[in-house]
Protein backbone atom coordinates (compact mmCIF):
# COMPACT_ATOMS: atom_id res chain seq x y z
CA UNK A 1 0.00 0.00 0.00
CA UNK A 2 0.94 3.56 -0.66
CA UNK A 3 1.59 5.07 2.74
CA UNK A 4 3.14 8.49 2.24
CA UNK A 5 4.30 8.87 5.84
CA UNK A 6 6.11 5.56 5.67
CA UNK A 7 7.60 6.55 2.34
CA UNK A 8 8.87 9.82 3.78
CA UNK A 9 10.83 7.90 6.39
CA UNK A 10 12.90 6.42 3.57
CA UNK A 11 14.16 9.86 2.52
CA UNK A 12 16.79 11.13 4.96
CA UNK A 13 16.75 14.68 3.59
CA UNK A 14 13.04 15.12 4.29
CA UNK A 15 13.70 15.39 8.01
CA UNK A 16 15.92 18.43 7.52
CA UNK A 17 14.94 21.88 8.67
CA UNK A 18 15.59 25.09 6.78
CA UNK A 19 15.81 28.26 8.88
CA UNK A 20 14.17 26.28 11.62
CA UNK A 21 11.23 25.15 9.47
CA UNK A 22 10.72 21.61 8.22
CA UNK A 23 11.90 21.30 4.63
CA UNK A 24 8.97 21.35 2.20
CA UNK A 25 10.66 20.16 -0.96
CA UNK A 26 8.63 21.22 -3.98
CA UNK A 27 11.37 21.41 -6.59
CA UNK A 28 10.91 17.89 -7.88
CA UNK A 29 10.70 18.81 -11.53
CA UNK A 30 14.29 20.04 -11.20
CA UNK A 31 15.48 16.95 -9.35
CA UNK A 32 14.01 14.45 -6.93
CA UNK A 33 15.25 13.44 -3.51
CA UNK A 34 16.72 9.96 -2.97
CA UNK A 35 15.56 7.20 -0.66
CA UNK A 36 17.96 5.48 1.72
CA UNK A 37 17.78 2.39 -0.51
CA UNK A 38 19.37 4.22 -3.43
CA UNK A 39 22.05 5.84 -1.31
CA UNK A 40 22.79 2.43 0.23
CA UNK A 41 23.14 0.88 -3.22
CA UNK A 42 25.87 3.39 -4.04
CA UNK A 43 27.68 2.81 -0.78
CA UNK A 44 27.38 -0.95 -1.22
CA UNK A 45 28.94 -0.69 -4.67
CA UNK A 46 31.88 1.39 -3.49
CA UNK A 47 32.46 -0.61 -0.32
CA UNK A 48 31.98 -4.09 -1.68
CA UNK A 49 32.44 -4.55 -5.39
CA UNK A 50 33.76 -1.43 -7.05
CA UNK A 51 35.65 -2.40 -10.22
CA UNK A 52 35.68 -1.61 -13.88
CA UNK A 53 33.13 -3.62 -15.83
CA UNK A 54 33.29 -5.89 -18.86
CA UNK A 55 35.98 -8.38 -19.66
CA UNK A 56 37.55 -8.36 -16.22
CA UNK A 57 38.26 -11.91 -15.03
CA UNK A 58 38.49 -11.07 -11.35
CA UNK A 59 35.66 -11.44 -8.88
CA UNK A 60 34.99 -7.76 -8.23
CA UNK A 61 34.86 -6.99 -11.91
CA UNK A 62 32.49 -9.89 -12.56
CA UNK A 63 30.21 -8.77 -9.77
CA UNK A 64 30.26 -5.15 -10.93
CA UNK A 65 29.48 -6.23 -14.49
CA UNK A 66 26.58 -8.41 -13.36
CA UNK A 67 25.02 -5.70 -11.22
CA UNK A 68 25.62 -3.08 -13.90
CA UNK A 69 23.85 -5.17 -16.54
CA UNK A 70 21.13 -6.13 -14.02
CA UNK A 71 20.42 -2.43 -13.61
CA UNK A 72 20.05 -2.04 -17.34
CA UNK A 73 17.65 -4.97 -17.32
CA UNK A 74 15.60 -3.35 -14.56
CA UNK A 75 15.33 -0.07 -16.43
CA UNK A 76 14.45 -1.95 -19.60
CA UNK A 77 11.63 -3.79 -17.87
CA UNK A 78 10.46 -0.58 -16.19
CA UNK A 79 9.68 1.00 -19.56
CA UNK A 80 8.67 -2.35 -21.09
CA UNK A 81 11.41 -2.31 -23.69
CA UNK A 82 11.57 -5.46 -25.81
CA UNK A 83 15.14 -6.00 -24.72
CA UNK A 84 17.76 -4.44 -22.52
CA UNK A 85 20.19 -3.96 -25.39
CA UNK A 86 17.96 -1.13 -26.59
CA UNK A 87 18.67 0.75 -23.38
CA UNK A 88 21.71 3.01 -23.66
CA UNK A 89 23.18 4.71 -20.59
CA UNK A 90 23.86 8.43 -20.92
CA UNK A 91 24.52 11.19 -18.39
CA UNK A 92 21.03 12.67 -18.56
CA UNK A 93 18.08 13.25 -20.85
CA UNK A 94 19.99 16.10 -22.48
CA UNK A 95 22.82 13.85 -23.56
CA UNK A 96 20.32 11.28 -24.83
CA UNK A 97 18.75 13.95 -27.02
CA UNK A 98 22.12 15.10 -28.32
CA UNK A 99 23.07 11.52 -29.08
CA UNK A 100 19.96 11.20 -31.25
CA UNK A 101 20.54 14.57 -32.92
CA UNK A 102 24.14 13.69 -33.79
CA UNK A 103 23.89 10.02 -34.57
CA UNK A 104 20.41 9.64 -36.07
CA UNK A 105 19.97 13.28 -37.04
CA UNK A 106 23.17 13.74 -39.03
CA UNK A 107 22.31 10.75 -41.18
CA UNK A 108 18.57 11.23 -41.57
CA UNK A 109 17.79 14.93 -41.62
CA UNK A 110 18.41 16.70 -44.91
CA UNK A 111 17.90 20.11 -46.42
CA UNK A 112 14.28 21.13 -46.35
CA UNK A 113 13.24 18.33 -44.01
CA UNK A 114 10.95 19.30 -41.19
CA UNK A 115 11.11 18.62 -37.48
CA UNK A 116 7.91 19.18 -35.56
CA UNK A 117 8.10 20.18 -31.90
CA UNK A 118 5.74 21.54 -29.29
CA UNK A 119 6.11 25.08 -27.93
CA UNK A 120 6.57 23.69 -24.44
CA UNK A 121 9.82 21.83 -25.03
CA UNK A 122 12.62 22.03 -22.51
CA UNK A 123 15.73 23.68 -24.00
CA UNK A 124 17.25 20.21 -24.21
CA UNK A 125 14.59 19.10 -26.69
CA UNK A 126 14.79 22.35 -28.63
CA UNK A 127 18.36 23.60 -28.97
CA UNK A 128 19.87 20.34 -30.31
CA UNK A 129 17.25 20.42 -33.10
CA UNK A 130 17.90 24.09 -33.80
CA UNK A 131 21.57 23.27 -34.16
CA UNK A 132 20.89 20.24 -36.35
CA UNK A 133 18.48 22.28 -38.50
CA UNK A 134 21.13 24.97 -38.87
CA UNK A 135 23.75 22.45 -40.00
CA UNK A 136 21.34 20.77 -42.40
CA UNK A 137 19.15 23.64 -43.55
CA UNK A 138 16.17 21.84 -42.14
CA UNK A 139 13.03 23.50 -40.83
CA UNK A 140 11.58 23.44 -37.33
CA UNK A 141 7.85 23.85 -36.83
CA UNK A 142 5.77 24.06 -33.70
CA UNK A 143 2.32 22.73 -32.89
CA UNK A 144 0.20 25.66 -31.70
CA UNK A 145 -0.94 25.74 -28.10
CA UNK A 146 -4.35 26.55 -26.70
CA UNK A 147 -4.93 29.08 -23.97
CA UNK A 148 -4.99 26.47 -21.21
CA UNK A 149 -1.52 25.22 -22.07
CA UNK A 150 -2.54 22.17 -24.11
CA UNK A 151 -1.60 21.36 -27.69
CA UNK A 152 -4.03 22.23 -30.43
CA UNK A 153 -4.21 18.72 -31.82
CA UNK A 154 -6.53 19.81 -34.62
CA UNK A 155 -3.59 21.53 -36.26
CA UNK A 156 -1.30 18.54 -36.17
CA UNK A 157 -2.51 16.83 -39.33
CA UNK A 158 -1.69 19.78 -41.52
CA UNK A 159 1.65 20.33 -39.76
CA UNK A 160 2.96 16.82 -40.33
CA UNK A 161 3.82 16.64 -44.00
CA UNK A 162 5.78 14.24 -46.14
CA UNK A 163 8.82 16.42 -45.39
CA UNK A 164 8.45 15.75 -41.67
CA UNK A 165 11.21 13.37 -40.55
CA UNK A 166 10.78 13.73 -36.81
CA UNK A 167 8.07 14.65 -34.35
CA UNK A 168 9.53 15.23 -30.90
CA UNK A 169 7.34 16.02 -27.92
CA UNK A 170 7.61 16.30 -24.20
CA UNK A 171 5.28 13.83 -22.50
CA UNK A 172 4.76 16.00 -19.44
CA UNK A 173 5.78 19.63 -19.54
CA UNK A 174 8.14 20.66 -16.76
CA UNK A 175 6.93 24.25 -17.02
CA UNK A 176 3.15 23.79 -17.20
CA UNK A 177 2.49 20.27 -16.01
CA UNK A 178 0.56 19.53 -19.21
CA UNK A 179 0.45 15.85 -20.13
CA UNK A 180 0.48 15.66 -23.90
CA UNK A 181 -1.39 13.04 -25.96
CA UNK A 182 1.82 11.42 -27.12
CA UNK A 183 0.23 8.21 -28.33
CA UNK A 184 -1.95 10.12 -30.74
CA UNK A 185 0.96 12.30 -31.82
CA UNK A 186 3.04 9.22 -32.47
CA UNK A 187 0.34 7.68 -34.64
CA UNK A 188 0.10 10.81 -36.70
CA UNK A 189 3.88 10.96 -37.08
CA UNK A 190 4.09 7.34 -38.16
CA UNK A 191 1.24 7.77 -40.65
CA UNK A 192 3.47 10.20 -42.52
CA UNK A 193 6.58 8.06 -42.08
CA UNK A 194 8.13 10.42 -39.53
CA UNK A 195 9.98 9.14 -36.49
CA UNK A 196 8.56 9.89 -33.07
CA UNK A 197 10.54 10.91 -30.02
CA UNK A 198 9.14 11.19 -26.51
CA UNK A 199 10.90 13.35 -23.93
CA UNK A 200 9.99 11.37 -20.83
CA UNK A 201 12.12 13.37 -18.39
CA UNK A 202 9.00 14.38 -16.45
CA UNK A 203 6.68 11.49 -17.25
CA UNK A 204 8.79 8.40 -16.60
CA UNK A 205 9.29 9.38 -12.93
CA UNK A 206 5.59 10.02 -12.36
CA UNK A 207 3.48 7.50 -14.29
CA UNK A 208 3.72 4.04 -15.84
CA UNK A 209 5.66 4.04 -19.11
CA UNK A 210 5.34 1.42 -21.82
CA UNK A 211 7.40 2.09 -24.91
CA UNK A 212 5.71 -0.67 -26.87
CA UNK A 213 2.29 0.75 -26.15
CA UNK A 214 3.46 4.30 -26.80
CA UNK A 215 5.06 2.95 -29.96
CA UNK A 216 7.71 5.66 -29.75
CA UNK A 217 10.92 5.38 -31.74
CA UNK A 218 12.98 7.18 -29.12
CA UNK A 219 12.46 7.76 -25.42
CA UNK A 220 14.78 9.82 -23.23
CA UNK A 221 14.81 10.42 -19.49
CA UNK A 222 17.06 11.21 -16.52
CA UNK A 223 17.74 9.13 -13.44
CA UNK A 224 18.03 12.07 -11.06
CA UNK A 225 14.37 13.03 -11.48
CA UNK A 226 13.14 9.54 -10.53
CA UNK A 227 14.86 8.94 -7.18
CA UNK A 228 18.12 7.96 -8.90
CA UNK A 229 21.55 9.52 -8.58
CA UNK A 230 22.78 12.47 -10.63
CA UNK A 231 24.90 11.63 -13.65
CA UNK A 232 22.87 8.84 -15.19
CA UNK A 233 20.32 9.08 -17.98
CA UNK A 234 18.68 6.74 -20.42
CA UNK A 235 18.10 6.50 -24.12
CA UNK A 236 15.74 3.90 -25.53
CA UNK A 237 15.61 3.40 -29.28
CA UNK A 238 13.60 0.90 -31.32
CA UNK A 239 15.81 -1.87 -32.57
CA UNK A 240 15.37 -1.21 -36.29
CA UNK A 241 16.55 2.34 -35.83
CA UNK A 242 19.28 1.70 -33.28
CA UNK A 243 20.75 -0.90 -35.61
CA UNK A 244 21.20 1.70 -38.33
CA UNK A 245 22.73 4.35 -36.08
CA UNK A 246 26.44 5.12 -36.19
CA UNK A 247 28.23 5.51 -32.87
CA UNK A 248 28.26 8.93 -31.28
CA UNK A 249 31.15 8.90 -28.82
CA UNK A 250 34.03 6.57 -29.70
CA UNK A 251 36.90 5.05 -27.73
CA UNK A 252 37.26 2.33 -25.13
CA UNK A 253 34.44 -0.15 -24.42
CA UNK A 254 32.44 0.59 -27.58
CA UNK A 255 34.78 -1.14 -30.04
CA UNK A 256 34.96 -4.70 -31.28
CA UNK A 257 38.31 -4.52 -32.99
CA UNK A 258 40.84 -1.72 -33.33
CA UNK A 259 43.91 -1.38 -35.51
CA UNK A 260 46.08 1.69 -35.92
CA UNK A 261 44.05 2.47 -39.05
CA UNK A 262 40.44 1.81 -38.10
CA UNK A 263 37.97 0.35 -35.68
CA UNK A 264 34.80 -1.71 -35.76
CA UNK A 265 32.01 -1.45 -33.25
CA UNK A 266 30.81 -3.58 -30.38
CA UNK A 267 27.26 -4.92 -30.26
CA UNK A 268 24.32 -2.98 -28.87
CA UNK A 269 24.13 -1.26 -26.50
CA UNK A 270 27.86 -0.93 -25.83
CA UNK A 271 28.41 0.55 -29.28
CA UNK A 272 26.94 3.74 -27.85
CA UNK A 273 28.82 3.76 -24.55
CA UNK A 274 32.39 4.98 -24.88
CA UNK A 275 34.78 4.85 -21.98
CA UNK A 276 34.27 3.63 -18.45
CA UNK A 277 30.54 3.93 -17.80
CA UNK A 278 28.97 5.52 -14.75
CA UNK A 279 28.82 2.15 -13.04
CA UNK A 280 27.77 3.19 -9.55
CA UNK A 281 25.00 5.48 -10.68
CA UNK A 282 23.61 2.96 -13.16
CA UNK A 283 23.30 0.54 -10.27
CA UNK A 284 21.81 3.35 -8.19
CA UNK A 285 19.19 3.96 -10.85
CA UNK A 286 18.42 0.25 -10.89
CA UNK A 287 17.78 0.50 -7.18
CA UNK A 288 15.53 3.55 -7.72
CA UNK A 289 13.53 1.50 -10.20
CA UNK A 290 13.19 -1.26 -7.60
CA UNK A 291 11.89 1.30 -5.15
CA UNK A 292 9.38 2.73 -7.61
CA UNK A 293 8.22 -0.78 -8.52
CA UNK A 294 7.72 -1.61 -4.86
CA UNK A 295 5.29 1.32 -4.64
CA UNK A 296 3.74 0.73 -8.03
CA UNK A 297 3.79 3.43 -10.68
CA UNK A 298 -0.01 3.42 -10.90
CA UNK A 299 -0.10 4.28 -7.21
CA UNK A 300 2.47 7.01 -7.67
CA UNK A 301 0.37 8.55 -10.41
CA UNK A 302 -2.80 8.28 -8.32
CA UNK A 303 -1.14 9.89 -5.32
CA UNK A 304 0.10 12.77 -7.41
CA UNK A 305 -3.23 13.18 -9.18
CA UNK A 306 -4.95 13.46 -5.82
CA UNK A 307 -2.37 15.98 -4.68
CA UNK A 308 -2.83 17.97 -7.88
CA UNK A 309 -6.60 18.01 -7.43
CA UNK A 310 -6.16 19.10 -3.85
CA UNK A 311 -3.73 21.87 -4.80
CA UNK A 312 -5.92 23.13 -7.63
CA UNK A 313 -8.80 23.43 -5.16
CA UNK A 314 -6.69 25.05 -2.48
CA UNK A 315 -5.37 27.68 -4.88
CA UNK A 316 -8.85 28.30 -6.20
CA UNK A 317 -10.20 28.74 -2.68
CA UNK A 318 -7.38 31.02 -1.65
CA UNK A 319 -8.38 33.18 -4.61
CA UNK A 320 -5.16 35.11 -4.57
CA UNK A 321 -5.40 38.52 -6.08
CA UNK A 322 -3.36 38.84 -9.25
CA UNK A 323 -2.13 35.29 -9.19
CA UNK A 324 -2.00 33.53 -12.56
CA UNK A 325 -1.76 29.74 -12.46
CA UNK A 326 -0.64 28.31 -15.79
CA UNK A 327 -1.48 24.97 -17.35
CA UNK A 328 -4.64 22.89 -17.73
CA UNK A 329 -6.98 22.57 -14.74
CA UNK A 330 -7.96 18.98 -15.46
CA UNK A 331 -5.82 16.70 -13.25
CA UNK A 332 -6.23 13.91 -15.83
CA UNK A 333 -3.97 15.79 -18.22
CA UNK A 334 -1.84 17.58 -15.69
CA UNK A 335 1.05 16.39 -13.57
CA UNK A 336 1.89 17.81 -10.16
CA UNK A 337 3.55 20.94 -11.53
CA UNK A 338 2.28 24.37 -10.48
CA UNK A 339 3.75 27.28 -12.36
CA UNK A 340 2.38 30.68 -11.52
CA UNK A 341 3.00 34.34 -11.63
CA UNK A 342 1.83 37.04 -9.29
CA UNK A 343 1.32 40.59 -10.38
CA UNK A 344 3.35 42.97 -8.17
CA UNK A 345 5.55 40.29 -6.63
CA UNK A 346 8.50 39.13 -8.65
CA UNK A 347 9.09 35.36 -8.73
CA UNK A 348 12.55 35.76 -7.20
CA UNK A 349 11.21 37.65 -4.24
CA UNK A 350 8.49 35.09 -3.76
CA UNK A 351 11.06 32.28 -4.05
CA UNK A 352 13.28 33.87 -1.43
CA UNK A 353 10.33 34.48 0.86
CA UNK A 354 9.17 30.87 0.62
CA UNK A 355 12.69 29.55 1.12
CA UNK A 356 12.85 31.35 4.45
CA UNK A 357 9.83 29.30 5.43
CA UNK A 358 11.53 26.07 4.37
CA UNK A 359 9.60 25.79 1.12
CA UNK A 360 11.83 24.94 -1.81
CA UNK A 361 10.34 26.07 -5.11
CA UNK A 362 12.02 26.98 -8.37
CA UNK A 363 11.77 30.41 -9.95
CA UNK A 364 12.79 31.36 -13.44
CA UNK A 365 12.19 30.13 -16.94
CA UNK A 366 12.57 26.42 -16.09
CA UNK A 367 14.72 25.89 -19.17
CA UNK A 368 11.74 26.75 -21.31
CA UNK A 369 12.50 30.42 -22.00
CA UNK A 370 10.47 30.85 -25.17
CA UNK A 371 7.41 29.25 -23.58
CA UNK A 372 7.62 31.31 -20.41
CA UNK A 373 8.03 34.45 -22.50
CA UNK A 374 5.01 33.53 -24.56
CA UNK A 375 3.05 33.51 -21.30
CA UNK A 376 3.90 37.18 -21.13
CA UNK A 377 6.25 36.87 -18.18
CA UNK A 378 10.01 36.65 -17.75
CA UNK A 379 9.84 34.02 -15.05
CA UNK A 380 7.40 32.02 -13.00
CA UNK A 381 7.39 30.41 -9.60
CA UNK A 382 7.10 26.64 -9.89
CA UNK A 383 6.11 24.17 -7.21
CA UNK A 384 6.35 20.55 -8.33
CA UNK A 385 5.30 17.44 -6.41
CA UNK A 386 6.55 13.92 -6.08
CA UNK A 387 5.48 10.77 -4.40
CA UNK A 388 6.59 11.88 -0.93
CA UNK A 389 4.69 15.17 -0.91
CA UNK A 390 1.57 15.57 1.22
CA UNK A 391 -1.58 17.64 1.39
CA UNK A 392 -0.16 19.27 4.49
CA UNK A 393 2.74 20.50 2.36
CA UNK A 394 0.32 21.89 -0.21
CA UNK A 395 -1.33 23.81 2.63
CA UNK A 396 2.02 25.22 3.71
CA UNK A 397 2.71 26.30 0.15
CA UNK A 398 -0.64 28.02 -0.36
CA UNK A 399 -0.37 29.73 3.04
CA UNK A 400 3.17 30.82 2.24
CA UNK A 401 2.20 32.35 -1.06
CA UNK A 402 -0.77 34.08 0.52
CA UNK A 403 1.43 35.56 3.21
CA UNK A 404 4.09 36.64 0.74
CA UNK A 405 1.60 38.52 -1.37
CA UNK A 406 0.40 40.38 1.68
CA UNK A 407 3.94 41.10 2.83
CA UNK A 408 5.21 42.46 -0.45
CA UNK A 409 2.08 44.38 -1.31
CA UNK A 410 1.67 46.35 1.86
CA UNK A 411 4.43 45.30 4.16
CA UNK A 412 1.90 44.02 6.68
CA UNK A 413 2.27 40.61 8.23
Amino acid sequence: MFDVEKIRDDFPILSKTIYGNPLVYLDNAATSQKPRQVIDALVDYYENYNANVHRGVHTLSMEATDKFEDAREKVSTFINSESSDLVVWTRNASESLNLIAYSWGEANVHEGDEILLTPMEHHSNLVPWQELARRKNAVIKFIPMRGNGTLDMDKVDELITERTVLVSAVHMSNALGTINPVRELGEKAHQQGAKFLVDGAQSVPHMPTNVQELDCDFLVFSGHKMLGPTGIGVLYVKRDILNTMEPFLTGGEMVLDVSYQEASWADLPMKFEAGTPNIADSIGLGSAVDYLNSLGMENVRTHEKNLTTYALNRFKKADLDGMDLFGPDDPEIRGGVFSFNTVDVHPHDLGTFLDRKGIAVRTGHHCAMPLVRSLGVAATVRASFYLYNTEREVDILVDGVTEALRYFRDGSE
Binding site: Y19, P347, T352, T363, H365, F408
Partner: protein
Protein backbone atom coordinates in the same frame (compact mmCIF):
# COMPACT_ATOMS: atom_id res chain seq x y z
CA UNK B 1 4.49 34.37 11.92
CA UNK B 2 8.00 35.49 12.53
CA UNK B 3 9.19 37.71 9.72
CA UNK B 4 12.67 38.37 11.07
CA UNK B 5 14.24 36.02 8.63
CA UNK B 6 12.74 37.73 5.67
CA UNK B 7 13.78 41.07 7.06
CA UNK B 8 17.43 40.09 6.72
CA UNK B 9 17.07 40.96 3.12
CA UNK B 10 14.31 43.49 3.07
CA UNK B 11 15.86 45.14 6.13
CA UNK B 12 14.28 48.24 7.60
CA UNK B 13 11.96 48.00 4.66
CA UNK B 14 14.45 50.16 2.75
CA UNK B 15 14.56 47.76 -0.14
CA UNK B 16 10.85 47.20 -0.07
CA UNK B 17 10.28 50.92 0.04
CA UNK B 18 12.61 51.69 -2.85
CA UNK B 19 11.13 48.87 -4.80
CA UNK B 20 7.58 50.01 -4.31
CA UNK B 21 8.43 53.66 -4.82
CA UNK B 22 11.54 53.86 -6.92
CA UNK B 23 13.21 57.29 -6.97
CA UNK B 24 14.40 59.27 -9.96
CA UNK B 25 12.07 57.76 -12.45
CA UNK B 26 11.10 60.82 -14.45
CA UNK B 27 12.55 60.86 -17.92
CA UNK B 28 15.14 63.57 -18.51
CA UNK B 29 14.72 66.16 -21.24
CA UNK B 30 18.43 66.28 -21.90
CA UNK B 31 20.97 63.65 -21.02
CA UNK B 32 24.59 62.93 -21.84
CA UNK B 33 24.93 59.25 -21.11
CA UNK B 34 22.73 56.16 -21.16
CA UNK B 35 23.42 52.76 -19.75
CA UNK B 36 21.56 49.46 -19.85
CA UNK B 37 21.86 46.01 -18.39
CA UNK B 38 19.74 42.94 -18.84
CA UNK B 39 19.81 39.56 -17.13
CA UNK B 40 18.37 37.18 -19.67
CA UNK B 41 17.91 34.44 -17.09
CA UNK B 42 15.31 36.24 -15.05
CA UNK B 43 14.38 38.94 -17.54
CA UNK B 44 15.38 41.73 -15.19
CA UNK B 45 16.33 45.04 -16.79
CA UNK B 46 17.86 48.34 -15.71
CA UNK B 47 18.19 51.52 -17.75
CA UNK B 48 19.76 54.85 -16.79
CA UNK B 49 19.85 58.27 -18.35
CA UNK B 50 22.47 60.60 -16.94
CA UNK B 51 22.65 64.32 -17.30
CA UNK B 52 26.08 65.84 -16.54
CA UNK B 53 27.04 69.29 -15.43
CA UNK B 54 30.16 70.15 -17.33
CA UNK B 55 31.98 67.02 -18.32
CA UNK B 56 32.13 65.36 -14.98
CA UNK B 57 29.39 66.01 -12.51
CA UNK B 58 26.38 63.72 -12.39
CA UNK B 59 23.66 66.28 -11.97
CA UNK B 60 20.60 64.27 -12.78
CA UNK B 61 19.93 60.59 -13.29
CA UNK B 62 16.86 58.73 -14.43
CA UNK B 63 16.21 55.11 -13.56
CA UNK B 64 13.83 52.70 -15.17
CA UNK B 65 13.71 48.96 -14.86
CA UNK B 66 11.78 45.79 -14.49
CA UNK B 67 12.36 42.92 -12.15
CA UNK B 68 12.53 41.75 -8.62
CA UNK B 69 12.42 43.90 -5.52
CA UNK B 70 16.17 43.78 -5.09
CA UNK B 71 16.84 44.81 -8.65
CA UNK B 72 14.40 47.70 -8.48
CA UNK B 73 15.62 48.83 -5.08
CA UNK B 74 19.20 48.64 -6.24
CA UNK B 75 18.51 50.84 -9.25
CA UNK B 76 16.64 53.33 -7.17
CA UNK B 77 19.20 53.40 -4.34
CA UNK B 78 22.06 53.69 -6.79
CA UNK B 79 20.43 56.61 -8.56
CA UNK B 80 20.27 58.47 -5.28
CA UNK B 81 23.79 57.53 -4.29
CA UNK B 82 25.50 58.84 -7.40
CA UNK B 83 23.58 62.04 -7.82
CA UNK B 84 26.02 64.88 -7.18
CA UNK B 85 29.12 62.72 -7.60
CA UNK B 86 31.70 63.26 -10.28
CA UNK B 87 32.00 60.55 -12.91
CA UNK B 88 35.25 59.55 -11.26
CA UNK B 89 33.69 59.29 -7.83
CA UNK B 90 30.76 57.32 -9.17
CA UNK B 91 33.11 54.94 -10.93
CA UNK B 92 35.07 54.42 -7.76
CA UNK B 93 31.92 53.88 -5.74
CA UNK B 94 30.77 51.32 -8.26
CA UNK B 95 34.05 49.41 -8.16
CA UNK B 96 34.05 49.47 -4.40
CA UNK B 97 30.46 48.33 -4.15
CA UNK B 98 30.80 45.49 -6.63
CA UNK B 99 33.99 44.25 -4.96
CA UNK B 100 32.36 44.40 -1.61
CA UNK B 101 29.35 42.42 -2.80
CA UNK B 102 31.60 39.73 -4.21
CA UNK B 103 33.76 39.31 -1.13
CA UNK B 104 32.81 36.44 1.16
CA UNK B 105 30.43 37.41 3.93
CA UNK B 106 32.27 38.78 6.92
CA UNK B 107 35.31 40.03 5.04
CA UNK B 108 34.03 43.55 5.04
CA UNK B 109 31.66 45.36 7.28
CA UNK B 110 28.41 46.61 5.97
CA UNK B 111 29.48 49.79 7.66
CA UNK B 112 31.74 50.49 4.72
CA UNK B 113 28.69 51.86 3.03
CA UNK B 114 26.71 54.51 4.71
CA UNK B 115 23.07 55.23 4.52
CA UNK B 116 20.75 53.24 2.44
CA UNK B 117 23.42 51.49 0.38
CA UNK B 118 24.25 49.43 3.45
CA UNK B 119 20.79 47.87 3.17
CA UNK B 120 21.75 46.67 -0.27
CA UNK B 121 24.98 45.15 1.02
CA UNK B 122 22.92 42.87 3.24
CA UNK B 123 21.80 41.04 0.10
CA UNK B 124 25.12 39.24 0.47
CA UNK B 125 23.36 37.00 2.94
CA UNK B 126 21.49 35.60 -0.06
CA UNK B 127 24.32 34.78 -2.44
CA UNK B 128 21.96 33.70 -5.18
CA UNK B 129 20.39 37.15 -5.16
CA UNK B 130 23.65 39.08 -5.38
CA UNK B 131 23.40 39.31 -9.13
CA UNK B 132 19.98 40.93 -8.72
CA UNK B 133 21.63 43.67 -6.70
CA UNK B 134 24.46 44.09 -9.17
CA UNK B 135 22.53 44.51 -12.38
CA UNK B 136 21.98 48.22 -11.82
CA UNK B 137 25.69 48.68 -11.24
CA UNK B 138 26.40 47.05 -14.59
CA UNK B 139 24.05 49.53 -16.21
CA UNK B 140 25.87 52.37 -14.42
CA UNK B 141 29.24 51.09 -15.63
CA UNK B 142 27.80 50.87 -19.10
CA UNK B 143 26.77 54.52 -18.93
CA UNK B 144 29.99 55.79 -17.38
CA UNK B 145 32.19 53.87 -19.80
CA UNK B 146 30.64 55.86 -22.63
CA UNK B 147 32.14 58.93 -21.08
CA UNK B 148 35.64 57.48 -21.49
CA UNK B 149 36.81 59.86 -24.17
CA UNK B 150 35.81 62.88 -22.20
CA UNK B 151 37.20 62.04 -18.78
CA UNK B 152 40.75 62.10 -17.54
CA UNK B 153 42.59 58.78 -17.99
CA UNK B 154 43.25 58.37 -14.28
CA UNK B 155 39.59 58.23 -13.51
CA UNK B 156 39.07 55.10 -15.56
CA UNK B 157 38.14 51.97 -13.70
CA UNK B 158 41.04 49.55 -13.55
Amino acid sequence: MDQNNIDDIYRDRVILDHCRNPRNTSLLDHFDLTGDAINPFCGDEVHFQIGLRGENLIERIQFSGDGCAINMASGSLLSEAVTGLTVKEATQLSIRFVESMRKPIGENAEGEFIGELSALISVKNFPVRVKCALLAWSALEDALSKNKSTIEPDSLPM
